[in-house]
Structure formats: C-alpha cells, structure tokens
Subunit: 506 residues, 2 copies
Amino acid sequence: MLSAETSTSQLQELKNRLLEINNLTSAASLLHWDQATYMPPGGAAARGRQIATLQEIAHQKFTSPQIGELLAQLSSEQPDNHVDSSLIRVTKKDYDRAIQIPAELMARIYQHQAESYVVWGKARPENDFKAVEPYLQKNLALSQELASLFPNQEHIADPLIAEADYGMKATTVRSLFAELRQQLVPMVEAIASQPIPDVNCLHQHFPENQQLDFTLQVIKQIGYDFQKGRQDKTLHPFMTKFSLGDVRITTRVRGNDLSEALFSTIHETGHALYEQGINPEFEGTPLAHGTSAGVHESQSRLWENLVGRSHNFWEYFYPQLQEVFPEQLGNIALETFYQAINKVERSLIRTDADEVTYNLHVMIRFELELQMLEGKLAIQDLPEAWNTAYQNDLGVTPQNDSEGVLQDVHWFVGSIGGMFQGYTLGNIMSAQFYQAALKAHPEISQHIQQGQFSTLHNWLKTNIYQYGSQYTAAEVVERATGSPLTIEPFINYLRSKYALLYPSAF
Amino acid sequence: MLSAETSTSQLQELKNRLLEINNLTSAASLLHWDQATYMPPGGAAARGRQIATLQEIAHQKFTSPQIGELLAQLSSEQPDNHVDSSLIRVTKKDYDRAIQIPAELMARIYQHQAESYVVWGKARPENDFKAVEPYLQKNLALSQELASLFPNQEHIADPLIAEADYGMKATTVRSLFAELRQQLVPMVEAIASQPIPDVNCLHQHFPENQQLDFTLQVIKQIGYDFQKGRQDKTLHPFMTKFSLGDVRITTRVRGNDLSEALFSTIHETGHALYEQGINPEFEGTPLAHGTSAGVHESQSRLWENLVGRSHNFWEYFYPQLQEVFPEQLGNIALETFYQAINKVERSLIRTDADEVTYNLHVMIRFELELQMLEGKLAIQDLPEAWNTAYQNDLGVTPQNDSEGVLQDVHWFVGSIGGMFQGYTLGNIMSAQFYQAALKAHPEISQHIQQGQFSTLHNWLKTNIYQYGSQYTAAEVVERATGSPLTIEPFINYLRSKYALLYPSAF
C-alpha cells in the first residue's frame, strides 16, 4: 500500500507526463489539419516526416518504463475518486496495448499503409483490383500479426475491435448484427418495392458560399461553439481536436448537391459537440476524448439523422433555406424536400446510403473482415464475396470493383478488422440515447420545431459528453438509458419514421 | 584524425539528429502560424503549452552530449566539401551558444517575456510607462545576465547582437551607424524644409478583397511561388517557414490605406523569396535559413523599397491598379501616386516611417539599448532619453510615451540588445546588393518597367538566396558585391532618388 501522499504525487507525475504526450499528439493533429486544409503542395514531403517525428517521440514517451512503473504502483491502489481511477484504468489499457506492439511492427504497418494508400488511389478510378490484391494480402498478414500479439483472445479480431470499441468482441457484435440484419433486410425490401421519391429538388445549382453560410447558421443554432472551434473546407469532411477549447470541423461542398455540405456538416458537428462538451478538468489527459468509436458515431448520427433529417427540424429550418435559395426551392413544398432528404434506396455506395440501408453496407464489410482474419476468405475471392453479399442483402450487384470492393479507403489506411463496426454500433446507440432523452424531456420534439436545441444538447452533455472516457461505452449506455445496448429503439425509430414516408410498405 | 568513412557516417548521424530537431521546430512554427491566423480563442491556453513542449524537446535534443561529441569529432576534421564544413561550423556556433545558456535562465526569460507582453499590451494604449518600468528593469537584468554568460566579449551587447547578426559587434555597428547618421540627419532636415506631398490619394476607401487580389497578383509576378507558400491575413504581418517547400506570408489590410497591404506584402514577400530560393539540398539542416537578420531584412527592403517604391515598378503596375480602383485612382496621375508613396516626413512612429527617416528611428533604439546594457542609462530615465534623441535626430518630440518609448513590442518580447540593428544593416545591404545586381545586369531597370522581375530575382537567387547560411553575412556581401559592407550605395541611392522627388532640397 502506498501512502496517500506518495500516491497523489505519483498521480501528478503521471498527469504531467501525459500532458507532455498530449501536447505532442495535439501538435501532430494540427499538422494533419493544415495538410488537409491550407498546406501548399510544396509542403507535402516535409509534412510527412514532421508528423512522423511527433508521433514517434510521443510513442517513445508513452511507452517509457517510468510510465509503466507509475501505472503499476497507482493500479495497486484504488483511489476514492472515480475520475482518478478511470484515468488510471484508461491509461493502463492504452499503455498495455502500446507496449505489446513492437515499434518495428508499427513502422512496417505505417510504411505499408502509406504505400497501399497511393496504390488504392490509382486503382479505384481504374477499377483495378489486381493492383491492390498484393497490398491487401500483406495488410491482412500484418493485421493478423498485430492481433496475434494479444494472447487469450476468443476471436482473432477481438484486439482490433477493442482498439476502436473497447468492451466489444467479434461474437457479441456478430450476434447483435445478425439480429439487426434480420429486421433490416425485409424492411428494406418492402420499402424498395415502393415508388422512389423525386430528389430533383436537391440537385439544382446551389452556390457554394450560400450553402456554407446556411450550414454555419444551422450548426451555430444547434450549439456548436465557434469560440472553441471553426469550420474549413476539405476534400473529405472530418472533425479534429487540438484541445477541448479548439475542436474543428471540415466540410465538403458540392454546387449541384444541397445535401452534401448540409448533412456532412451536421454529422461532423455531432462529433464536435461531444468533444466540446467534455469536462474541462480532463483537458490534456486520456479522459478528454469520446469513449469509443461507437459512442462517437452515435452523436454524429443522432444530430445528422434523428435530428437533422427529422420533420420537426425542417419545419423550423426549411423556410429559412427557402429564403436563401428562393429560385431553387421557393416552389418546392416542405413535404417534397422532406421526402427527398429521406429517400430510401438499395444502392452500391456506403457513404451515399440512407439511414435504413446504411447498416447493411457496414455489416457486409464487418463480416468479410472477420472471414478474412479467420482465414476463411482469401483476398482473391474478396470481390466475388463482396458482390454476392450485396446481392443477398441489398438486391444489387456492383458492375465493377470501383463501385464494389474498392470503394472504401479503410482497408488501405488501417487494419483489416475493427474498422467498420463502430458505424453501426453508433447508429444503434443513437436511437437508444435519443429515446432516453425524449423520455426525460418529451418537449424536445416541440423545442426542435421551434429551433431550440439546448434541451436535447444539455441532456446529452449531462449524460454523455461531460464524461469523455471516464465511463466505458457500455457504462455510458447503461447510465444514460437505463439498459444495455439494444437494437429495439433503432428499429422502432425506423419503423415509425418510415411508416409515414412509405405507408404502403409497413 | 578520423577515417573518411567514420567521418561520413558521423556527419550522417549529425544530419539525422538535426532533421529530427528541425521537424520539431517546424511543427512549433506551424502552431504559431495557426495561432496568428485561424485559431479560435478557446485554443489559446493549450496552444501555449503545446508550443513550449515542442521547443523544450527540441532544445533538449539539440543540447544533448551526443551532438556535442559528434561536433567535436567532426570539427577536428576539415571536410573538403564547403557545404559540409559550413554545416558543421553553423551547427557548432548554435550548439556552443545553446549549451552556454542554462535551461532555467531561458525558462525565467520566457516566463518574464510572456508577462511583459501582456502588461505592455495594456500600458501602451493607456500611455502608462510606470506600469512597464519594473518589467523593463527586470528584462534589462535578464539581458545582462544572458550576455554575461559569454566571456571575453569586447562589449556586453556583443553576444546579443551576434545572435541575430553573427559577425557584428557593438563597436562596428556603432561606427557604421555614426557614419550613416552624419549623412542622414542633414538630408532629412533639408527634405523636411520642403512642402509635404499630398497623400490623400492613398487614403480613400479601398475594399479589402480588391486590395488583397491586387497584392496577390503583384507578388505572383515578382516571383513568389504559390506552390510553395500561401498568404493569409493577420493582425501583424510576418513570414514563416515550415520547410523550403512551404514558406508562408501574412498580410494586414486596411480599408482606408492603400499602402498598408501593398507594401507590407511586398516586404514579407522579399523575406519569403530568400527562403524559397535556398538550395533544396539544405532542407532540414541549419543551413536552410537566411544567414542573418541583416541579410534577411536586406531582401524584404530591397523588394519593398528599391523595387516596390520605384518609378519603374509603378510605370508597369499603376495602370493595373487604376483598373482595379477606377473611381479612386482613375483621375490620379502616376506622378502624384509616386510622390505619395515616397513621402518623406519626420515622424514619431518607426513602422510608419519612410525609407529616408526610417534608419534614424532604428539607430536611436540601438544606441539606447547599448547605453542601458552598459549601465549608463537607467530605465526610469529612458522616456526622457528617447524624447531627447527624437528631438535631436528627427526634430520631433513625442507628446506621450504611447507614441514614444512604448511604441515597439521588441523590448517586451525579446532581449534589450540585439533586436534592432538588423533593420538598418538590412537597409544598407539592400542598396549594396541592388547596385551589384544592376552592374551585372543594367537591363534590370528596363525589365522592371516591363513587369519582368526574373532577371533581378535570378541574380539574387544565384548570389544570395541559394546559399542559405552556407556563407556568413559578411561573406555573402563580399561575394555578391565584391566589397565589404559600406553605406555608400545606400546614401547614393537615397540621393539620386530623392533629388528627383525633392529637387530643391539637394
């Protein structure tokens, strides 16, 4: 047993070291952000090595024996304070993982991913699966090598899944997804037999600056704090954080597609609200992050879909949108617009998918990942397996690999395994959280209709955001909703919303 | 003696270490740039500690015993290659300096400067010298403590001057400045007796975006490479570099002052052309920087004044400027505009001063710095000494300290000593370099008249830019112009230009 004083000073020492590491990784994040937003082409070569140096030093400092000793000593105590014990728990989890992985393996993985990304970038437009085949092959071997470093696993994918969604295992996710698939496939089939709504109203010419101005106004009203963040344009939208007071989002705008900037901005805003809402006392510690990929995605999807694609939301905002685009939308009824932004269609591209079909895309990828890791699916057979799964679950077959197995970047910049389940876990959670919020505050629907988002935002802050990583994903779900993760609220949400949109299908 | 092979591998080891350090300091520069351009207010607190961490680790790594050993071994050799021997010389100079200064003194200095900056920011608008007096007092003591770490100095200011302008000493600069002052004071007096030209044409309403577009066009044509840089708006203009392929400038625009954005942009472009022009093989080493404050300033001033305020330059650009601002300038003759941008006036504020009076402002500060360091001028007597000097040299007396001793930030964010001489050294050099360029290529004047800047730009690249820090300032001057630093070309330049503008004064 350590004396209370020793323990306090050791905890302080740990926090000081973690803060220094946080300063390095936050700096690396800014270098990434600049690379994606403003960096001139000539800066690219040096930028790569600058980021690598910061990450390398951060890794060295985090895996130092001193951190290990501090954690060993502090873990033998159980601090009264829940925040402190969470800090030690989360840091120890990350540390145990970090020291398990040899630096030379990480170097091989990064090197391979850098090369794969380039090859994929060329192969996708050229529809050339053969070109990426050896890279996927090697990535699979590297992913298996990485996963096998963690002994006593039930499933080889478990350590990869745990990296993003701590507490989740392949078997749990598999059975949760099987349950969901069983509900979704017939629902999608039934909706697909209905006439497709007209979406022409979204595909007129909408000047980019006016789109941006409108989205800024929307996210300001939702509760995004521009004193603690900003929005910039990038090729691919993302959220990034340099401190709890500097949480930025990026947006892509398309002059001929109104939904692109609008919904991707609300999506990233959801991620940002989570990070902006974390207890400021956690600043600079590993608690100052969203607790898992799933919970993070639950917030982007809650704001994007359950709020941003709701009828209430547009009852408030649609007249404003019409004012910004009178020529394009002046004669388009709210109902037409509402149907267009909620069109359900069995399609080939995940990132364009609606909220009913989206999870089928994700679950196909998750299952293929598992099979590859298990050695049951060879890379050369991947395109066929992909196409068959699409035909089975979505009733469509890619005409080529560009719109099939080559569409996502994930397997070229990350592991094969652990990259996709968070999307669907997030969708499931989003409905469970929203249902709990509505139960606590039934007035939320009406408030949204009036453009007042703080009732919902405050409930989310109080029950989810403020805790950062203090609680695990499972704890957050249980504490905020009173029950473990369940697909029921999500299925109920889809049924009740889409029964109104497609009455003959239900 | 080391074997050639050992020496090569040691040099490579040194370069690897320097590259890692360069990656850290370049990252810190990006964090600074972001702080000045896009960072939301909420990011400020964390940003300070992020930058501090990067600088601290870079300092630790640079002052490590391994660097010392490598330098000791490499210095005992004399590589055949001039680039390598320069690299070792410059690194050794920086290293010897860095290890001389205890980390705790640097920490005290940074801490004090951070506090002083805040106090100055409040005291200047409030005209409150008493508020800053103790801070200046302490900064003087710290500056003296820092300087005294370097033994065997002729003058206490020498180590502070050498930090910015290596090779320069207080006595050399003092006598050079005395010579210059002797020429300038009567010249300024003579011009001041003439009627002041009308500058109203510069102070109409000029929309900011149009100003920015025009300056972008100008610096593009001058030769600033936007593939290797970009321009953003800031409160105070500056140039910064993250790699030789990413050299950025910032600009301040005033809607009621055409000269602000225009000339400050050309000024920063001059700094940027120097850095963009350095031999790409020096990337990541201490040779990949301009060689001294003076030579750097010579380039910003050469492009801003000798080119950017020349008659030839505006013969080409003025018609274009008139096209951008037809209402404001359509009826203003080129000569009126030319006289306005070259107005000479004995004034109180250094940053607003014209090129004839500017150096008198600088020399007053330089002399006061020396006297403070020598212990001959007490801080409490500084305002009076300042005002007396202004009356003597410029014939004007500040009505209050805001427009007097409180106007510059330098003594609140840097040492007292070494902060100012570079401006005037740069002005002197700018004319000497330009004269040499014109001697080699008399067609430069005509080319500028035609909007062709590459003849001049190429001469500067070939004779100055490409070398980075491979040669010292004195060597660069000697090699590029065939003679040591001399005030003659600068005086001749002023005489011949201003004799045409103020014929009765000469």
